[in-house]
Amino acid sequence: MQLKSPRSILLAALALPGLHGAAHADTPPERGEITLSYLDYQDRQPGLDRIAVHSPSVSILAPVAGVWTLEASLLHDSISGASPRYHTAISGASHMDDSRIAADVRVTRHFSRGSLSVSASRSNENDYLSRALGVQGSIASADQNTSFTFGAGVTNDRINPVNGVVHDERRHTVELMAGVTQVLGVRDIAQFDLTHTDGEGYFSDPYKFLDIRPRSRTENTALLRWNHRFDASGGTSRASYRYYRDTFGIRAHTLSEEYVQPLGGGWTLTPSARLYSQSAASFYFDAVYDPVFGPPSPPNFQFTPGLLITQDQRMAAFGALTLGLKAEKKLGADWVVDVKFEDYQQRAALHLGGTGSPGLAPFYARTWQLSLTRLW
């Protein structure tokens, strides 16, 4: 029998699953995890504490038979405080209480060079029901250095506001996603994703005075991520830039950076910063007090059929800065506890390359989250 080239042995070995491109192989998790979290959120505007959210959650990740992963989570939000109000006026801030239950489940099948997952989620409030289904797949090149990701999802929402402004309104959204991840050596990984979303249905906010938005919205997002590992400190930088545009006329930029630094004694410290800026929707109006309608109305407001109008703060031109710090401590081989704090401030003046929507009241939020994870 003739010998084949001995070099073929090395090539054949490198083709074995998980022997090459170590940093990136989409391998199933080795251990299961169960995490209990408690999130505390409070936002405020000058002179007014607004929404408070208390949100316990439980999530589980379980490897099954070496090639499957099951993930599931259950979350309960209790929301209380002033209802979302017009952005500058103090009046009209009535009290609200609401609660939300959200659950999602994802099943992933891992293959030697990729994975396929199916997910479903459901979120229920007394006036809002949202259900989503998604499928996502990834496939890696033979050397595992490049991987491609594709995803598709549909979301169906039902809106039944307690004030009866609309009844049984619906929104249907289809999302398509494609991405590529490239290993750029032992220290760097880059990722580029494009997401396209088409939505039809009710986009208005039923609790806002004079909020009439288009019944369709197309959104496009480009996301670039870059992770870099520093040999000297053993830390990892995770930087990203996201560009967003939609048919409401909003253009948004998000720049974020977090730095993960392992310290001695099982500690890891992760400071983070995120800078966000968006332009206003084309039908956004800066509100003024109207002599006829009272609380905020657009200047010289006249109602006409087909009118599109919003005064929602989230549709305005503004910028925002989020600063965060997360501390994680490993307790033995099986337990991880982490605490995370985030401070968010939103101001017209932080809008990139301009002053943003005039008269927009600053908005602040802070989030605490405590999590306990058990590995098994």
Partner: protein, 305 residues
């Protein structure tokens, strides 16, 4: 100035061998936490491919020999594809069906099996005749066996290394019973100095090889053997004759991954007089000790994969 991380050694037993993971970590707890992922992977492979446990895919394939097909998963099929490459590159000498020869060779007694004893076993050897179809495999004759003992330990070392690399570990090596996969140099950048066991002097070493990355494995005639009639009979058996090879005391190979390094070393043992040409053609660094104790080496000490 950032202080270099300390190095911790975590020993464990797996695959009937003494094993160790050495890695740089912030502290001992962290080192154990990281190593646990790699050790779990080694134990997973050991449990999945053991031929001693009745429920493994290997045992099911062997139990169905001459009778039925057995469904295999992707990882097992990938290992078969690798076995194909070894079979082809070794001219059929590296054959994962040759384990049946253990029925004639019992190294606890110095007895050389005769031709009459070997002939029926040789008829059960032949990876080239094994039937495969999609996800299924079938051994054509009752009594045939496969096992991954020829490269399972090296494969596990590589997989464990992959997992550590995925956790961000850069200064570490995984050693499974003398087969070593190196992830990166010591924290100060210096290569690890790895001793090569002396094939005739017990715990002594015959050389030390500097390795900063890649893998170093050794195949030798001193693991299971007996001496009789002035020659050594070792556990490395030529599947064509059923006889023990007798040319090299040991062959150590440096290659980018342990799976390949181990296969080069074993095939070199099996190829006997053709070993040096084979290793040179493969382009790997090696250190071989011939039956007289003479050293033959190439690029050892200066290579870094």
């Amino acid at each position: 100035m950032v202080r270099a991380l300390p190095v911790f050694g975590i020993g464990f037993g797996a695959m009937a061998s003494r094993c160790e993971i050495r890695l740089a970590a912030s502290d001992e707890t962290e080192a154990h936490r990281l190593a646990a992922f790699a050790i779990d992977e080694v134990k997973r492979i050991e449990a999945k491919y053991s031929r001693y446990r009745p429920d493994t895919v290997v045992s099911r394939i062997n139990a169905a020999a001459g009778v039925d097909w057995t469904e295999c998963d992707d990882e097992t099929l990938a290992l078969f594809a690798y076995a194909d490459a070894l079979f082809a590159a070794s001219g059929g000498r590296f054959d994962i069906t040759s384990g049946v020869l253990r029925r004639a060779w019992n190294f606890s007694q110095p007895r050389v099996p005769g031709a009459a004893q070997l002939a029926p076993l040789l008829a059960l050897i032949g990876w080239g005749e094994v039937q495969r179809e999609g996800q299924r495999i079938r051994l054509p004759r009752a009594g045939m066996e496969i096992d991954f003992g020829g490269f399972g330990k090296e494969y596990a070392a590589d997989r464990a290394g992959t997992i550590l690399a995925g956790l961000g570990v850069t200064h570490a090596y995984v050693e499974l019973g003398g087969d070593i996969r190196v992830l990166g140099p010591q924290p100060d950048g210096a290569p690890w100095s790895i001793g090569i066991q002396h094939p005739r002097a017990g715990e002594g070493t015959i050389a030390a090889i500097e390795v900063a990355s890649g893998a170093l494995t050794t195949s030798g005639d001193y693991e299971r053997y007996f001496d009789a009639g002035g020659r050594r009979y070792c556990h490395i058996l030529d599947p064509r004759s059923g006889n023990s090879v007798d040319c090299w005391q040991s062959v150590s190979v440096l290659a980018p991954v342990a799976t390949a390094a181990g296969s080069y070393a074993t095939i070199a043992m099996l190829l006997e007089d053709e070993a040096i040409v084979f290793l040179d053609t493969a382009g790997v660094a090696y250190l071989a000790v011939d039956r007289h104790g003479q050293l033959h080496s190439k690029n050892v000490g200066s290579v870094s994969y």
